[in-house]
């Protein structure tokens, strides 16, 4: 095998400005974080709303929730991002369309499309988790809440949601992990996040194995951090006595 090893590749200067390849990787991580945070915020807000809607007595609310989930779960993520990046701008009104094409840089348009696309995709999954959490609350709790005079809104706010969100913390955190991993798909619409950087660097330096390994390690590290965050949240919101060993 004629492969020249170079594990110090990250510290090499790129030849463009003063940066080293490490700077490029850090930029990539930065954009990854931006997409993940924006997308996850959209997903939590919209997903919780839809999840609640799917459990309300109103048939209209339920239908809206079900339709949303059906559409956004049956189209692959990649196609959804492509739709937001390539298709939707064409249907924007002219003035916005011009601003989009001319005034925003390529990275920014890709960033916005990717964040919205990933956010809406993940919202469908969060919706299902929230719905499952709400449906798992025993009907006795609902009865007790109503018997005390709570309105439906109060019932959700004080009885149902606090319990169901605690219950779905583990699967929600795995959705968060998926969301962070899925930011990599944004590289295919042109966002300069970590996978993009990885491709570029490996083309420049031909040190493919090293750079791929570093990026793999970074993802493993991100995952470990997310698991740590999840454990912290679970402990923080634990109800004493409810889970074994919580006393």
């Amino acid at each position: 095998m004629n492969y020249s090893w170079n594990w110090g590749v990250l510290l090499q200067p790129t030849g463009i400005g003063d940066s080293t390849y490490l700077n490029w990787i850090m930029t990539g991580i930065g954009w990854l974080a931006v997409i993940a945070i924006v997308a996850w915020s959209i997903a939590m807000l919209l997903g919780s709303l839809l999840g609640i809607m799917r459990t309300l007595p109103s048939p209209t609310a339920r239908a809206i929730g079900t339709t949303y989930v059906t559409i956004f779960r049956n189209i692959p993520l990649l196609i959804q991002l492509f739709i937001w990046f390539y298709v939707v701008p064409d249907f924007l009104p002219d003035s916005i369309h011009n601003w989009w094409i001319n005034d925003l840089g390529a990275n920014t348009t890709a960033l916005i499309s990717a964040s919205i696309g990933l956010g809406l995709f993940t919202a469908a999954r969060v919706c299902e988790q929230v719905r499952t959490g709400i449906e798992a609350i025993p009907p006795g709790q609902v009865n007790a809440g109503y018997a005390m005079g709570f309105s439906t809104a109060q019932l959700y706010r004080y009885v149902i949601l606090p319990q169901s969100f605690r219950m779905i913390l583990p699967p929600l955190s795995s959705e968060l992990t998926n969301c962070v991993k899925n930011t990599s798909v944004a590289s295919l619409v042109g966002v300069a996040e970590i996978i993009s950087q990885m491709k570029t660097i490996s083309e420049y330096t031909q040190n493919t194995i090293e750079i791929y390994t570093y990026v793999t390690l970074i993802f493993i590290l991100i995952n470990v951090c997310l698991i740590g965050l999840m454990n912290f949240l679970e402990k923080r919101f634990q109800v004493p006595g409810l889970i074994a060993g919580a006393k």
Binding site: G140, Q141, A144, A147, S151, V159, Q163, P240
Partner: protein, 247 residues
Amino acid sequence: MSEAKVMIDLQHVSKWYKDFQVLTDCTTQIRQGEVVVVCGPSGSGKSTLIKTVNGLEPIQQGNILVDGIKINDPKTNLNKLRSRVGMVFQHFELFPHLSITENLSIAQIKVLGRSEAEAKQKGLAYLDRVGLSAQANKYPAQLSGGQQQRVAIARALSMDPIAMLFDEPTSALDPEMITEVLDVMVGLAKEGMTMMCVTHEMGFARQVANRVIFMDQGKIVEDCTKDDFFNTPRGERAQQFLNKILH
């Protein structure tokens, strides 16, 4: 006694689950200060009947009035009415994510609009009344069944109800904890609280009930004074039931 105000008025109440009729033409009145025990074999509809009183179960025919206000009138503020009638459930239904103190005060604050200080004071007073002041800062999962049910009674009392509904309050308790709950209920009855209790505890009925209602297959079969019921029951079904239960 017969001049006292009618608190709960059931007029020809009928209810169907799809095609199955669960309540047939149930009529009875409970006056202020009366303690009425509702008993009968399982499937007789007694739990369903008591749940119609505060509207947790809707009815298709007949009228229900609580303190003169029609339950089944769409214009009635059902939440407000429910806040004035206390209910105690078979499975306690304390809110597991809230501390005991919070369980006692949350509906006072959010439904009745009391201040936090006032709600806490009242809740703790009733907690002391049921003998559980020491548990104020614990969580439901840390209490025994009997303790949880006593807290549930205190929670209902904190709302200063005009009547109390009990749906098999001791059926889910281990035998040694039944007494502590019954003692609280006897105390309440002796103070003149209007009570409607679905229960198998005939000892309790003999001690404090004014009247006994016997239900079978969705109909009120017997509705007479306590003495009449235990000594000279008219119907054969009631007699069979009494024989089984009192042995």
